[in-house]
Symmetry: C2
């Protein structure tokens, strides 16, 4: 059994780095707050006897030796970055839970056959730089390191510049640390486990993701003197797109969602009809055929709206992540650990994307979910109980022991 | 006849202060660009022999003596501030046209019976600080000077601080310069004169304006893991409001318009359902009863949308300017000047608000319109011909001579 109080203490100690007034965390990837939590994490890993390395995209790897160093390490961990108005658990539980597994094994003097590697992946959230799960995507070869280093945030700062500014452009090439498999603990970020009173979610699949950048070019004109029929209003156009996206997602539901999270009017003014808007779209489904249908319906709706309103709308698919089907043997190992420990559980699909989804494309991977309050995430009010966090960490530890061998 | 080339030269010389790449002007009120054009204007007025004073809200007044100084001056002028992506004519033609009238009278050695006062009103556009036509509203007593001085822009800078920062908080109290009447020359900012091939618009009325500040409070949550039916999406709510506003304005049309020009998502992120949006609304009609109907229908629609989506929407009416009916004698004077000079003309309603609309509440006022290309305004592509600008300025001069007496 892991040390529940110690885990809880780590979660709340690190929550100070970027703490918000509403009890959440604002710790955008590669920000000064992210540097603070990375420094804390490196020291904690070193204190736990791990050998810590940083790769060229800033991901931190802490290795615990195994009896048989010819075996590839079992990877565990998640991420420590957050949304602009994020919570204390998303990613953090999985990273500090992995650290807690190491501390517990150390205290109990348990040596494993295979080594264990604790990982903090850079930019899982995808808020500051697209795509989400950025560093793990480069790790599995979806993008080159150079491509990722050149991605820019909204202020034009590149990933490379941001890494340098906090001193986290590591000396190891991406992929230097080979892993045999990867297990990630995470809060569910949805309402199912809580509603059904289950402690553990045995994650067997994950939704695919489509991310688009969009740009609407209408025509700026005077709010008072431009008759309604002569307008080419970019905001009215966006509004139709938002509502079309909503009804398309509902039409393909319940296994589909669609969101417009960002929309910025260029040079806004009260008495000017908006002429130009940049926006982003996020569509998801666990079913590849539904993803294709979402894409098709969305493009058709946007074409119709733009043509009818005589407004140009361009959309650009910047990221397509297919649905994930986790490794059956690892899924069984997680399920078995939950049962052995006496926790209620159910199989579950992840609505969110996770680094484990990327890793699963090149190695066996699986995930452990625990409930979060009212299914709320990507919100400062995100919450989870100490007992559930400890339960998930115990399941993670027993899964690792079963895979790594004692 | 005024000097068409000199007027055209002044317009294009001052267009350098805040010139944009697309040929427009970005000269927000009380910005450093606004200081540049104010300095230019003060010097030009002094060179033309005017006695220049600045009031506590930064408006510039240049007085040309009349034979009978017991008579109140005839006020002429407009504004030199622009929209964030504004044009070279909106306000500028009226201010520099007024200066050109003075220069022409000087050259011709014409003395008038009543004095003439050229005015550059502060913050006509209302983009940086609300309301529009701010200084003329304070001049006529709609707001106190202290109230206006405390108004803030989006960065929290007050009108008072902005005035100090460019050295234009004048030593004269607002209202120090009494005027007997006011005549404003302006581009139409709409398509009617051009479409009908008329050179002069004799403005007999102006639309009333309703300005609102709005705030939507939904709930931020994860774009991937939050099922569509559980969302309280602030952007989807705004989208319904935008489209409701559009159809309400159309329903009450053609004599009504409605616009949402600003909308800002708080802490936007691609994979977060928007939780909070601040926005503004602008509704207009030349008919007071239609203004009331717009307000009523809008509030009802917003209440219904908010309740159905379980999202809180607050709207706050921050400005209500009733429709304007200009002074019949001054309207006739403008019309007579146009006819005498041989310009084609028609009566017209102003879609935009103007300082003359404020002044009309306490003194006789009127306006002269000239066509602008395709009716485009509040856009960098705003355009007008040299001939039309000169024609409007001639009508302004002959109207002034008729009122002031030679
Ligand atoms: N777990 C999580 O919130 N990941 C962020 C990436 C995404 O799913 O949008
Ligand atoms: N003339 C003009 O564009 N005024 C700005 C104020 C408004 O009508 O919105």
């Amino acid at each position: 059994q892991i040390d529940s109080a110690r885990l809880w203490g780590s979660i709340h100690e690190t929550a100070q780095f970027g703490a918000t007034a509403k009890g959440g965390v604002r710790r955008l990837t590669l920000s000064s707050e992210d540097k603070q939590v990375r420094d804390w994490f490196r020291k904690a890993c070193e204190d736990a006897g791990l050998e810590v390395h940083v790769d060229a995209l800033g991901s931190q790897f802490g290795l615990r030796k195994g009896r048989d160093m010819s075996k590839l390490p079992v990877g565990i961990g998640s991420h420590l970055d957050t949304q602009p108005t994020g919570g204390k658990y998303d990613g953090i539980l999985g990273t500090l839970g992995a650290l807690e597994v190491i501390r517990t094994l150390n205290d109990a003097g348990i040596e494993t056959e295979a080594p264990i590697c604790v990982v903090n992946w850079t930019n899982e959230e995808g808020s500051r730089f697209a795509p989400a799960m950025m560093a793990s995507a480069a790790y599995v070869g979806d993008f080159t390191t150079d491509d990722i280093l050149s991605r820019k945030d909204i202020d034009g700062t590149t990933v490379g510049q941001a890494l340098d500014s906090i001193g986290y452009r590591g000396d190891k090439p991406v992929g230097f640390q080979k892993l045999g498999c990867f297990v990630e603990l995470h809060i569910e970020q949805g309402p199912i486990l809580e509603a059904e009173g289950k402690t553990i979610g045995v994650v067997d699949s994950g939704q695919g993701v489509l991310w688009y950048d969009g740009k609407i070019s209408g025509f700026e004109s005077h709010a008072g003197s431009t008759p309604m029929p002569l307008r080419r209003d970019a905001l009215a156009t966006l509004s139709e797109i938002v509502l079309a996206m909503e009804s398309i997602a509902k039409k393909h539901g319940p296994n589909a969602v669609g969101t417009i999270g960002e929309a910025v009017i260029a040079n806004p003014s009260r008495n000017v009809i908006p002429g130009e808007i940049a926006f982003t779209m996020d569509c998801r489904s666990a079913d590849g055929a539904i993803m294709d249908a979402l894409d098709r319906d969305l493009r058709a709706a946007i074409a119709e709206i733009g043509a009818r309103r005589k407004v140009e709308v361009k959309i650009d698919l910047v990221w397509r992540k297919p649905p994930t089907h986790f490794d059956p043997k690892l899924i069984a190992a997680v399920e078995n650990a939950a049962t052995t420990l006496g926790y209620s559980s159910r199989r579950i699909t992840s609505g969110a994307g996770h680094d484990a989804c990327n890793l699963n494309t090149v190695m066996p991977a699986a995930m452990v979910f625990v409930p979060c309050k009212d299914g709320i995430s990507h919100n400062e009010l995100e919450d989870a109980t100490q007992g559930d966090c400890a339960a998930g960490t115990n399941v993670l530890m027993h899964t690792v022991l079963a895979i790594a061998g004692v």
